[in-house]
Symmetry: C2
Subunit: 170 residues, 2 copies
């Protein structure tokens, strides 16, 4: 199982660390990609190593894409490379899991039109404007897409994310 | 599956949140017990609700005990009630999982003599003095006891903790 997490400085710490450790518990290889390689720091001060830059990512090498929240997606969504990577996962119908502000990158990529999804409450308006079928639930699954609202939803988010990754054969 | 986490202020945030969310992903009921009921705050500022006080804990109602690290165990180990609870889990050979400074409570309880275990490096000396067979590994399993050293060990810690809980029939 090869997982790609895309984030940047000011990520919501638990929304990156909980999936990161959970995938590793499962024996997965996990790459953390950011605008450039090196340490990124969460809102609560946790540092993690972005071991690969977005430019170096080969999207087809991964089984799933995970987009944590916090303020990081504000930076990630401005990267054309991040947008292209997200689009590639959707083209291949590979699992994409986004939580809190994470779906902002998918909004910018134009990937949520007509898709059931959720997000942090302050993101709901732009999600609806992007044509998504917004629902205020702890987790929303629509095909390859899993979305959640906030850290407290992490148990449901990870349960459904693990399920669709297993279903997609990895 | 009923899980008891014992902690206090200044817990190591990821060492409490990662197990907490992981058990909930599994559908478990998780109680967080502290010296008294109410919010406890981690070193990185995360707040969680201690929904039960140590005095209210019925140890036999749980399938496993989890002891996160940080500075919290310094307070927890001074509680005779916490010591008694830990001893009860060992008497019943129920799973006990402790990480980082978490094993300090088991040291004070005199439960590590002759047991293979690990802990945060600054705790190693007192662990050896308590008669434990200390090993510097990401996870050490000895019967009902799972121990790890630090946050980066959480994937191995949770993998082995889930394994012994399942093995013990829950």
């Amino acid at each position: 199982m090869n997982i790609l997490i895309i984030s940047a400085d000011n990520f919501e710490d638990s929304e990156l660390l909980v999936p990161f450790y959970r995938f590793k518990e499962e024996g997965a290889r996990v790459d953390i990609a950011s605008l450039k390689r090196g340490k990124i720091t969460g809102k609560h001060g946790y540092e993690v190593e972005a071991n690969i830059s977005l430019d170096e990512v080969e999207p087809d090498a991964y089984d799933a894409l995970v987009l944590p929240g916090g303020k990081a997606p504000e930076a990630v969504r401005r990267s054309q490379r991040a947008i292209d990577i997200a689009r590639r996962f959707f083209e291949k119908s590979k699992p994409v899991a986004a939580i809190c502000h994470g779906p902002q990158t998918l909004i910018t990529a134009g990937l949520l039109k007509g898709r059931y999804a959720t997000c942090y409450k302050s993101v709901a308006d732009e999600m609806k404007l992007a044509g998504a079928l917004y629902e205020d639930r702890e987790v929303v699954v629509d095909g390859n897409l899993v979305t959640s609202r906030m850290p407290q939803d992490l148990p449901a988010f990870m349960r459904e994310t693990m399920k669709i990754i297993r279903k997609s054969g990895n």
